[in-house]
């Protein structure tokens, strides 16, 4: 019982509420500082928790001291804390970028930002299927608000699609949770893991149905084909800091898939063992291929980046679908890289859009950029990262996934799809880069030839550079990070420690009359 486990939930919830209430009393600068301080606090909490769980301990927090299968439980193992740290680091730079003016476009940006983090942290920490649903709803409700932040017809249209499809997903989640409860009588993930292994044969059919419903829900969140169609227009039409923060939203789906794959349908699950892995690998490769084609066909830079997010989701879930220790570890390394790299790309696209004036981010010959040197350099580095070219962290991640894939019988397929997808990504990015920076054309009649010069662009690009430096740090620290990823994968593949930590008695009696009888 460690109270630190619930701190990453309480901090954003309280600060978010405070920001909501103090809109009229605090100045904008004070609210920005408060928001930033709360995110810094979350980074420190995540680091502190990482030190505590680094040796393989699983920290649990039983709310209200109710013992586990009955009460609500929060669980911090290596994977959960890993995700917490990635989320808070990403949020820090996204917020820094938003402070350049995006956060003044509507009234409730700052509270929504913190509530989004509350939902994300809760989804990573919860050890209960129904609470996962509740935290999904919290993070989705905040994301609906953030997505349409700033308004505009395109945003509202994309927002409507995003909201409706996610509401359908929530309904499916409830059907799945109800079916699991009807079959096993529990919603605690650790308890479910034990009960699923002992299911009588006549219940295996309904269990498969419930598991597939759950797979559909998480696949929808993660944007796994064929449920990825909502992502490009949603990410391409929203504001840049929100798109950058949403780089973690698909990873919530990937996290849930990994958690359920290893905890509920791992090797201990009897007949249902490996049930998710068999779906994830082919669907992941399909997602990768479709995303690469989309990136090639995109006519706007931001839509192209959104399709590259789809590509990264495909590779990530294919790595998780390998189900081996090496595959999952490679996936976890790649997850960190792709979150930071795509977020940096969205922020960079925003800078380019501001500089290009009338051409915005459309991939057409446009006006010359005033700061072509800086922006072009950043574009080059980011494109190398996202495309997975050596010597940057994208290459390391992709190489690790491919090396892990060699153990799989169908490895030629995986190698072929990943490498061809990577080539298509490079072609698409090279085309956009040359269109944006080299193919200069004057404007048509009545349009200004040169956009107004940006105020302090080098300063505005600092959050982007910060995210790129995180990718560089990931590359330099590859050794320790990979050791941690391997240890995390090992912990996931042997869930006995997790189950024992959650279900062990907490050493208190629930009711006095039970002790007497």
């Amino acid at each position: 019982m460690n109270h630190l486990v619930i701190a990453p939930l309480l901090l954003p919830l309280l600060v978010g509420t405070l920001l909501l209430l103090s809109r009229r009393t605090l100045s904008l600068a004070a609210r920005r500082a408060l928001n930033l301080a709360a995110i810094l606090g979350q980074i420190l909490l995540a680091i502190e928790l990482l030190i505590l769980v680094g040796d393989g301990t699983v920290l649990t927090y039983h709310l209200g001291h109710w013992p586990a299968p009955w009460g609500i439980v929060l669980v911090a193992d290596r994977l959960a804390v890993w995700m917490l740290l990635v989320t808070s680091l990403l949020a820090f730079f996204a917020l820094l970028h938003a402070m350049q003016g995006t956060d003044t476009c509507s009234r409730h940006f700052h509270p929504l930002f913190q509530l989004q983090l509350f939902g994300l942290n809760g989804a990573f920490l919860t050890g209960d299927l129904f609470n996962l649903f509740v935290f999904f709803e919290i993070l989705l409700l905040a994301s609906y608000g953030l997505l349409v932040h700033g308004g505009g017809a395109a945003r509202v249209r994309a927002g409507l699609h995003f909201v409706v499809i996610n509401l359908v997903g929530s309904t499916l989640f409830l059907f799945a949770a109800g079916a699991f409860y009807g079959l096993t009588g529990t919603l605690n993930l650790a308890d479910l893991s034990l009960k699923i292994a002992q299911l009588p044969p006549e219940d295996l059919g309904p269990a498969r149905v419930a598991a597939l419903l759950l797979l559909a829900v998480f696949a929808l969140k993660a944007a796994l084909a064929p449920l990825h169609l909502w992502l490009p227009s949603a990410y391409a039409s929203t504001s840049a800091p929100v798109a950058a923060l949403f780089a973690i939203m698909t990873k919530v789906g990937a996290y849930s898939l990994l958690r359920v794959e290893t905890l509920l349908f791992g090797e201990q699950a009897g007949i249902l063992a490996g049930f998710y892995a068999a779906w994830l690998l082919p669907l992941g490769l399909l997602t990768l291929a479709l995303g690469a084609l989309g990136a090639l066909a995109a006519t706007e830079l931001r839509r192209q980046i959104a399709y590259l997010v789809v590509v990264s989701v495909g590779l990530l879930l294919a790595a998780f679908g390998l189900g081996s220790r090496e595959g999952i570890a490679a996936g976890l390394y790649y997850l960190v890289h792709t979150t930071f790299a795509t977020a940096a790309f969205f922020l960079l696209a925003d800078l380019i859009t501001r500089e290009r004036g009338w051409a915005a981010d459309r991939l057409v010959p446009g006006p010359a950029l005033p700061n072509a040197g800086l922006l072009g350099g950043l574009f080059f580095v980011t494109a190398l990262l996202v495309a997975g070219m050596p010597p940057l962290s994208g290459f390391v991640g992709k190489f690790l996934v491919l090396r892990a894939a060699l153990a799989e019988p169908g490895w030629p397929w995986m190698l072929a799809v990943v490498l061809v997808g990577g080539l298509l990504g490079i072609v698409a990015l090279a085309r956009s880069g040359s269109l944006l920076f080299f193919h200069i054309r004057g404007a048509g009649s009545g349009e200004p030839t040169h956009p107004p010069p940006a105020k302090d662009l080098p300063g505005a690009s600092l959050p982007t550079i910060g995210l790129l430096l995180l990718c560089l740090a990931l590359l330099i620290g590859s050794g320790p990070v990979l050791d941690l990823a391997e240890a995390t994968a090992g912990q996931l593949l042997d869930p006995a420690g997790y189950i024992q930590a959650v279900l062990k008695p907490v050493g208190i009696q629930i009711a006095p009359w039970e002790a007497e009888s």
Binding site: V148, R157, L160, S170, T171, L174, G178, G182
Partner: protein, 117 residues
């Protein structure tokens, strides 16, 4: 009772899915509402259907109904209310911004004919 319950859940779900696939935001919202009704009944039934039994501890009773699904349904109802309110507001906003209530924001053939005349 089980047959009646499953029939109701099935009909509500079918109606919800049909309305969800319509092109106007109003029917989509109605479809989402029907789907949440269906899932609430489904959740309620997941603790088995029991009549006339208390959900809380009582020394004189030996037969109980499962209290957990009722708590789950309550949570689900609250969340779905909030979500329905939000999606209605968003649909109204889309109607104002896009000029029509098509889910893709496109003007239908009849709308454009009306605007021409």
């Amino acid at each position: 009772m089980e047959a009646l319950m499953s029939l109701i859940v099935g009909v509500l779900t079918a109606g919800g899915v049909y309305l969800l696939l319509r092109a106007r935001t109003f029917s989509v919202v109605l479809g989402l509402t029907l789907l949440t009704y269906a899932v609430n009944l489904f959740l309620f039934a997941s603790g088995r259907l029991t009549i006339g039994a208390p959900p809380i501890l009582d020394p004189e009773v030996s037969r109980y109904t499962d209290p957990l699904p009722q708590a789950l349904v309550l949570t689900a109802i609250v969340i779905s209310f909030a979500m329905t309110a939000f999606v209605i507001m968003l649909a109204l906003r889309a109607r104002a911004e896009l000029g029509n209530d098509h889910v893709d924001g496109r003007a239908s053939v009849r709308d454009s004919q009306e605007s021409e005349t």
